[in-house]
């Protein structure tokens, strides 16, 4: 555990890191970013907390079991969305043209258009949660591992 | 269906199995006409080791290391050479990989 200043700053910064990560995830389909990048940013926030508070404190409220469950759920949602299109083909973008994320943004100069892309933004969110939970789990597991504890399942 | 025809030779497993059964039957019949005065459990079935005392049953099993001893003794030089590259060090595996890729690329580019 590091000094109080570091811990306070880490506490405050975590909020911004979370917001930035979620922003990257949400805008992955119409601007640079995406599920992996956003998830990695959030996981880097977890690394920061880990450094500031030490693995003992974090592990109490970030359980590996829960993180695994979130990662698996994200992956399942992703695959479920892909499977839902199997009426036409696997990975078919069946939401395009519907009221849900169905718009097609006009090409040319203009603001970012979030409400577009069909299943892609939904998939980005699913991937985002998978990566967020998965990378955090890896980092946490390795931190506990190097501190000498055995990892239970 | 069962026959594999190579156009050069024919492999028919069912014919082979039938032949095996027939030959096996002949061999068994032949065997049953052999000497009848062999008895198990008497001194007839005891092990004779040039008069040396026979070791206990557990000691008599030939361990894997001792099987084909002559073969390995004769090929000692070959195995010494073979063991040298099998270091078990992961770096060497990659070294072999790099070397083989380099040679393959050279052969393919020159053959083109």
């Amino acid at each position: 555990m590091l000094s109080k200043i570091v811990r306070t700053v880490a506490n405050q910064l975590m909020l911004f890191i979370l917001i930035f990560g979620l922003y990257l995830i949400m805008h992955g389909h119409d601007s640079p970013g995406g599920g992996f990048q956003g998830g990695a940013v959030v996981a880097s926030g977890v690394v920061m907390l880990l450094v500031a508070f030490g693995s003992g404190g974090i592990i109490k409220w970030l359980r590996l079991r829960r993180l695994t469950a979130v990662a698996c759920c994200g992956a399942l949602i992703f695959l479920g969305l892909a499977l839902a299109g199997t009426g036409t083909t696997f990975f078919h973008n069946f939401l395009l043209g519907t009221p849900v994320f169905g718009d097609i943004p006009p090409p040319g100069p203009g603001p970012s258009h979030v409400w577009s892309g069909g299943i892609i933004p939904l998939m980005e969110i699913a991937i985002g949660f998978t990566v967020m939970a998965g990378l955090s789990a890896v980092v946490l597991a390795m931190a506990r591992f190097s501190s000498g504890e055995e990892i239970e399942e | 269906m069962s026959v594999l025809d190579y156009g050069y030779a024919v492999w028919a497993p069912i014919v082979w199995i039938v032949a095996l059964i027939v030959i096996g039957a002949i061999v068994l019949i032949w065997r049953s006409r052999g000497r009848k005065d062999y008895k198990k459990g008497t001194t007839q079935s005891d092990i004779f080791l040039s008069g040396i005392k026979v070791p206990a049953e557990e000691q008599r099993h030939v361990k894997a290391d001792n099987i084909y001893w002559g073969f390995f003794e004769a090929l000692k030089g070959f195995y010494n050479v073979m063991m040298k590259p099998h270091t078990g060090i992961v770096n060497d595996y990659i070294l072999w990989f790099v070397a083989v890729v380099a040679i393959t690329v050279l052969i393919l580019v020159l053959a083109q």
Binding site: P107 | I89, N91
Partner: protein, 117 residues
């Protein structure tokens, strides 16, 4: 001169691959070996992403798009996938190195080896 500047990323990529292979082959320290593989994947990622460069092309983002031809984002997608995969591979490798260190007390490829022959 322009030729050289266009080809510069490729030279850098080949240089990185060469350095990485040198490290992987000649460094017995397992952590350094993992670093070598990380450099190897960076070199190849650099190579892939350089393939997508087109002089005068613009980034393939539909909003706020300037005039001009867009580049095909396939090499970028390939690079991103490759990065994701190498993250997983490197994490796995480091975990295994930690395990090896715990079992044998050494991270030297030669001293920590059990299986051979």
């Amino acid at each position: 001169m322009e030729q050289i500047s266009v080809n510069f990323p490729f030279l850098a990529a080949v240089l990185l691959v060469g350095i990485a292979l040198y490290i992987i082959v000649f460094r017995r320290n397992l952590i350094k070996l993992v670093m070598g593989i990380a450099i190897l994947s960076s070199g190849i990622n650099l190579f892939l992403v350089s393939l997508g460069y087109r002089t005068g092309g613009v980034a393939p983002i539909y909003t706020d798009v300037p005039e001009g031809p867009m580049v095909l984002p396939v090499p970028q997608a390939l690079t991103l996938t490759s990065i994701v995969i190498s993250v997983a591979v490197l994490a796995l490798m480091l975990t295994l190195v930690v395990h090896i260190y715990r079992h044998t007390g050494d991270i030297d490829a030669k001293k920590s080896r059990i299986l051979k022959g």
